[in-house]
Amino acid sequence: MLLKVSVKFWSYLADHAGCKKAEIEIVNGATLAKLHEAVCEQFPKLAGSKNSTLKAVGLEYEDDDFVLSDGDEVSFFPPVQGG
């Protein structure tokens, strides 16, 4: 069985991905780390900034071991720079 999640790219990650949002299908039980790997395979230019990429699900930061659910709205973004 597959999960469907959406991934939004912010700031220069959108430039690197070439889009602002992608719909990704991934195996049931997949973690955020697993999703990140899958996304970097699909958008190879994102691999270079993989270690500095921050990840959120909905409006909350989540760790690599977060287990995804169907319909999750994931965001990938570079270090923040407000102020």
Partner: protein, 130 residues
């Protein structure tokens, strides 16, 4: 603790914000911070910074920081305005005010909020060349 958060493309109106301040008789200290767009980024002259925000998450993260601040310090009110979109050089992108009974907690809370914001609130800068 009262909080007020504004994320907007409008220019920051410092005087209007100062006029709307409310503080009770037990409050003795107000610390304000303005973050202003500088004329250069690294070695390059710029004309403005274009701020992008993931706004719902930015709001959520600000609210979490306000809650943490309110648990750590006896602050009566926090007001924060972050301008987004194109902010020209010499204009403020951030205005922040903390009202507290005494000076040390007002300064500490204000600096805490800026430090944490710069780690957690999803806003990004794109410098626009001069």
């Amino acid at each position: 603790m009262k909080t007020e958060l504004t994320i907007s493309t409008d220019a920051i109106d410092e005087s209007a914000l100062a006029k709307r301040r409310e503080m009770s008789g037990g409050m003795g200290a107000v610390v304000c911070f303005l973050g202003v767009v500088r004329g250069s980024e690294g070695d390059n002259a710029i004309s403005a910074i274009d701020y992008e925000a993931f706004e719902p998450m930015a709001r959520r993260q600000f609210e979490l920081l306000f809650a943490e601040l309110g648990q750590r310090w006896p602050v009566e009110s926090v007001r924060l305005v972050h301008r987004i979109g194109v902010v020209p050089v010499n204009e403020p992108s951030l205005w922040l005010e903390v009202v507290a009974p005494h000076r040390p907690e007002a300064f500490d809370a204000c600096q805490f909020l800026i430090d944490e914001m710069k780690k957690k609130v999803p806003i990004w800068k794109k410098p626009l060349p001069a």
